[in-house]
């Protein structure tokens, strides 16, 4: 900032004359006209819904803001929308038209409805959905035992979880299939499948069982919930 000068030079804004230093009141003139309510105005205001005004009168405004939102934030809403899409497509019989892996990785460009996003079919490459539905509980338990035996030490803080929940958390933490935050688990599985990364079919079986069992919460990664909570309980 340039240094302040002591002398006051000519100022850009001219000062008011002293006679105009006081504000004045006036009771005539256009600015002070008091209009009487005319018939047209009353007719307009008559259209207002009296119930709305009642609502305003009777609304109780909380004095403190609530920290927990009733509506989910955008990320949660996005995952719920993805889950609804998956549920909608899973209910339909898997269509014969499907996107081939080689179309994603190379070769002919896929014929797509909307081009950059989405595509034909429900995102399945072959008959994984049918195969996943054939996977039994014992197979899933065997898969989980194999996973557990890979580690020397047992997993801690997982005593309360069912095998399904443990399988899904392991699915989240497998980084080779992509980031798990901001995407529904089933959609992540389909994406990994389309990219040719061969995700395990047992995880798909668990996801389909959870979805058929009417548990949409299982589609959201646990770390996603942890990362998006606004307040940390201490």
């Amino acid at each position: 900032m340039p240094p302040k000068r002591n002398s006051t030079g000519p100022r850009a804004i001219p000062t008011r004359q002293s006679s105009q230093s006081q504000a004045t009141l006036s009771f005539n003139g256009k600015q002070n006209k008091v209009t009487k309510p005319s018939a047209a105005q009353q007719a307009k205001s008559g259209k207002r819904d009296p119930a709305v005004i009642d609502q305003i009168i009777h609304a109780d405004v909380k004095s403190e803001a609530e920290p927990d939102l009733d509506e989910p934030t955008t990320a949660e809403a996005a995952i719920e929308q993805q889950v609804e899409e998956e549920a909608g497509t899973a209910k339909n019989a898997p269509s014969a038209a499907s996107v081939k892996t080689e179309e994603i990785l190379g070769g002919r460009a896929p014929e797509s409805d909307v081009g950059a996003i989405g595509g034909k079919g429900a995102g399945w490459v072959a008959d994984e959905e049918a195969q996943a539905r054939k996977v039994t509980d014992e197979q899933i338990k065997k898969y989980w035992k194999a996973k557990e035996s890979e580690r020397l030490a047992p997993r801690v803080h997982q005593e309360d979880l069912t095998v399904y929940a443990k399988v899904l958390r392991e699915w989240d933490m497998s980084g080779q299939f992509g980031p798990c935050i901001g995407i529904a688990r089933l959609k992540r599985w389909k994406r990994a499948n389309l990219l040719g990364l061969k995700p395990p079919v047992e995880v798909l079986a668990v996801l389909l069982k959870e979805m058929d069992g009417g548990n949409p919460k299982a589609q959201r990664a646990y770390v996603d919930e942890l990362m998006s909570t606004r307040f940390v309980e201490t």
């Binding site: 955008t74 990785l105 460009a109 909307v114 081009g115 989405g118 992509g178």
Partner: protein, 533 residues
């Protein structure tokens, strides 16, 4: 104008011959099919809360198989002092002293890249940071913190530039003098062979890129479509000789009086109204005009960084206290779009046009830029395809005579695959790489198989979640980039016989040049319009 010597071409200055009827020339038809590769779904189906990590992951997953194949060929026999290179799966699996090779995404840490802290800084200071021509400035003086990394300054670039290799496991800093000879930008997928030294950096001995993808045969897309719809393939039927295509970019219509004359000259040339009958016959073989970006100047709805800076400094000088953010609807000037619309509407009855948006056009600023809406063209709208409520499964959208396309654009013209951009990806890659060779950068973009490699790092783009749409899956026959400083062209070759013609299209407003490509030979030539003052 081109070719003919005016002194010998006497027909131009003779009185017209009234007895013989003039032959009416017909324009060569053009077989055109756009591909919806870069179209985004409308409105509510677009989701912007996705993270860009999904996009980088998808890019690596899509390009890893091709890179692995090429690198395996090259590096499996790579040996130094009886030690052969071994492939490691993840970037962090490299071991010190062991010769190994790995595939990952390149990330370049450069001191002058756009930084959100700069944006905060310019709101508090009157002086704006200077515009960056290149992101690494060899003579820039850095703070002590950056200078401490001088030992790791790496191969290319100035002090403070670091090149790293990244995948889902982590990042690995790359060093070595080999990198000085490589073109690298953030987002390119590369395979490197070398060893980890005692500083924890990876010394690179050799580098491979995915190289060009498979190139379809000429007419493959059309034959494929006819096969799908059950008709007999057209390879047996004789296709007429294809004409030429004119590519122009940077018309830069700004509503001033000054920019009308060269535009009208171009219009008359394309319509066959000017010059001699010989030239008019040449012009009648031009079957399509492609406008590659920046038809309007200063029509982008979001003001650029420079505009915001100048507006902020102007406001600070006036000391008015009000900041104008975003779009001031009272200051809208309809003259440029009106002029463009009239110009297009005069040309459209005679010739089909494909319009790509550019950095300064009134459409989205993030890539892929969506087509300029029909509402901007009240007269040319009659030549566009009518809007469809939903796109039907199976049969393609109706393509109008006037096709407003996305940027980047992917279409098939006379059987050849074209890939074109309005210039933003190449201009951004230019900022990363020392040197002025734009053709080399365009070739590198094709060999990396990415039409916008620096998106989303320094180039704003849509957050794709399922797959990276900027990965080039089919090698084009022609790759044109608009809004370049001068006309340049070359032919590059791929490992399995692909051949791509790369064309840098200059800005018409500055140079007055139009590129005309012969579709049978794919050789470009330049037509220049000049006005002598």
């Amino acid at each position: 104008m081109n070719g003919q010597d005016p002194s010998t071409d006497t027909s131009l200055l003779e009185t017209p011959d009234m007895s013989t009827p003039h032959a009416v020339l017909d324009r060569t038809p053009s077989a055109y099919t756009p591909h919806p590769t870069y179209r985004l779904p409308p409105g509510s189906a677009r989701h912007y809360q996705n993270q860009y990590a999904d996009m980088y992951f998808a890019r690596l997953a899509q390009l890893k198989p091709a890179t692995l194949a090429i690198a395996a060929d090259a590096f499996d026999t790579f040996s130094i002092a009886d030690e052969t290179a071994r492939r490691v799966d993840r970037v962090l699996d490299v071991r010190q002293g062991e010769l190994c090779w790995v595939v990952g995404t390149c990330y370049m840490e450069m001191p002058l890249k756009p930084n959100v802290l700069d944006d905060i800084g310019k709101e508090h200071w009157i002086a704006a940071p200077p515009t960056r021509v290149k992101y690494d400035h060899p003579s820039v003086a850095l703070e002590a913190g950056e200078g401490a990394h001088g030992a790791h300054a790496g191969g290319t670039g100035g002090v403070g530039t670091q090149i790293m290799l990244e995948d889902e496991s982590g990042r690995l800093r790359l060093t070595g003098s080999f990198l000085r000879g490589c073109l690298l930008v953030t987002g390119a997928i590369v395979a490197v062979v070398g060893t980890e030294n005692k500083d924890g950096d990876f010394e690179v001995l050799d580098l491979r890129v995915p190289d060009l993808p498979r190139q379809p045969q000429r007419w493959e897309a059309d034959d494929g479509n006819t096969a799908l719809t059950g008709k007999k393939p057209g390879s047996k039927k004789k296709r007429p000789r294809a004409g030429k295509v004119a590519i122009v970019s940077g018309l830069g219509i700004s509503g001033d009086e000054g920019d009308t004359l060269t535009l009208d000259l171009l219009l008359e040339y394309l319509l066959g109204e000017s010059t001699s009958p010989a030239d008019q016959e040449d012009a009648s073989t031009i079957s399509r005009l492609i406008i590659a970006g920046n038809s309007l100047s200063h029509a982008s709805p979001i003001p650029s960084r420079q505009d915001v800076i100048t507006a902020a400094t102007k406001n600070a000088a006036k000391a008015s206290g009000t900041r104008k953010y975003g779009y001031d609807s009272a200051a809208y000037n309809a003259a440029p779009t009106d002029r463009l619309d009239q110009w297009l509407a005069s040309l459209l009855p005679s010739m089909p046009i494909t319009l790509l948006p550019g950095a300064q056009d009134p459409t989205s600023t993030s890539l892929p830029q969506q087509p300029i809406h029909a509402a901007m063209f009240p007269h040319s709208r009659n030549y566009m395809a009518p809007p469809t409520a939903t796109t039907k499964d199976g049969d393609g959208e109706e393509v109008g005579w006037f096709d407003s396309q996305t940027n980047p654009a992917d279409f098939t013209l006379d059987g050849f695959r074209f890939l074109g951009t309005g210039g933003q990806p190449v201009d951004d890659v230019y900022k990363y790489i020392a040197g002025e060779e734009r053709l080399e950068m365009m070739e590198a973009m094709l060999r990396w198989r990415l039409s916008a490699p620096t998106a989303p790092d320094t180039l704003p783009c849509y957050p794709f979640q399922d797959e990276d749409q900027f990965v080039i899956k089919d090698c084009p026959h022609v790759f044109f980039v608009g809004n370049q400083p001068r006309f340049e062209t070359t032919l590059i070759e791929g490992p399995v016989g692909q051949a791509v013609r790369i064309i840098a299209v200059p800005r018409f407003k500055e140079t007055g040049e139009v590129v005309v490509v012969d579709m049978e030979t794919l050789v470009p030539e330049v037509v220049r319009f000049e006005v002598f003052d």
